[in-house]
């Protein structure tokens, strides 16, 4: 079946810098994408979502970019803080299946 993957399993950034977490998807029919944050020992927490009719969406300190041409999704975190350290997952909804498929995650570590 189709899958969602991540370019890098780990990412380390200095506190205050911007972070960019990337995600590739393979199904061009996917029409809804979500980023989740998972802290150690907790369940995934919704961060931001984007539908396929958009290419950018902004939240508080976070921006999601969608490039349908190359089937690429990214999460940008501005002024990264220690509390941003977590595993970040992208997920997609396939138009016909209507279920979320998750990538394996990227561990973000914020260095002091």
């Amino acid at each position: 079946g189709e899958s969602v993957g991540l370019h890098l399993p780990t990412l380390s950034v200095q506190e205050g810098d911007n972070s960019i977490i990337n995600c590739a998807y393979s199904n061009s029919a996917s029409d809804y994408f979500i980023w989740y944050k998972q802290e150690s020992g907790k369940g995934p927490q919704f961060i931001i979502d984007i539908r396929s009719n958009m290419d950018k969406r902004q939240g508080q300190r976070v921006t999601v970019l969608l490039n349908k041409t190359v089937k690429h999704l990214s999460l940008q975190i501005a002024a990264t803080q220690p509390g941003d350290s977590a595993v970040y997952f992208c997920a997609e909804t396939l138009g016909s299946a209507r279920q979320l498929t998750f990538g394996s995650g990227t561990q973000l570590t914020v260095l002091p």
């Binding site: 979500i34 989740y36 369940g43 995934p44 919704f46 279920q99 979320l100 394996s104």
Partner: protein, 112 residues
């Protein structure tokens, strides 16, 4: 506080025993889901329910069963636990299918 609760928080279970993981949400969401999370494999969908009274199979349904007698509760049952079912189990819900899912805190299960 509105949200999803799971019980138990953790459990050690002998192989061959029957176990039910509980999940309750108070957001009046129509859809509910069960995932398992294993290191390196991300979140995999076990079963889902798009509305009370209906259930469906996800990616990894074997060895698990669910029921959806009402909107709020979605228990997951392991009829005869095996060591490969050692995992962290997350319940999630969404207002409707293919919308943003909100996750519970998880149940950590060890099958010996």
């Amino acid at each position: 506080i509105a949200g999803i609760t799971q019980a138990p928080t953790s459990q050690i279970l002998a192989a061959g025993r029957r176990m039910t993981l509980r999940c309750t949400q108070d957001m009046r969401h129509n859809a509910m889901y069960w995932y398992r999370q294993d290191l390196g494999l991300g979140l995999r969908l076990i079963h889902y329910s798009n509305t009370a009274g209906t259930t469906g199979k996800g990616e990894v349904p074997d060895g698990y069963s669910v029921s959806r007698a009402n909107t709020d509760d979605f228990p997951l049952t392991l009829a005869s636990a095996v060591p490969s079912q050692t995992s962290v189990y997350f319940c999630a819900s969404s207002k409707n299918e293919a919308e943003t899912q909100y996750f519970g805190p998880g149940t950590r299960l060890l099958v010996l």
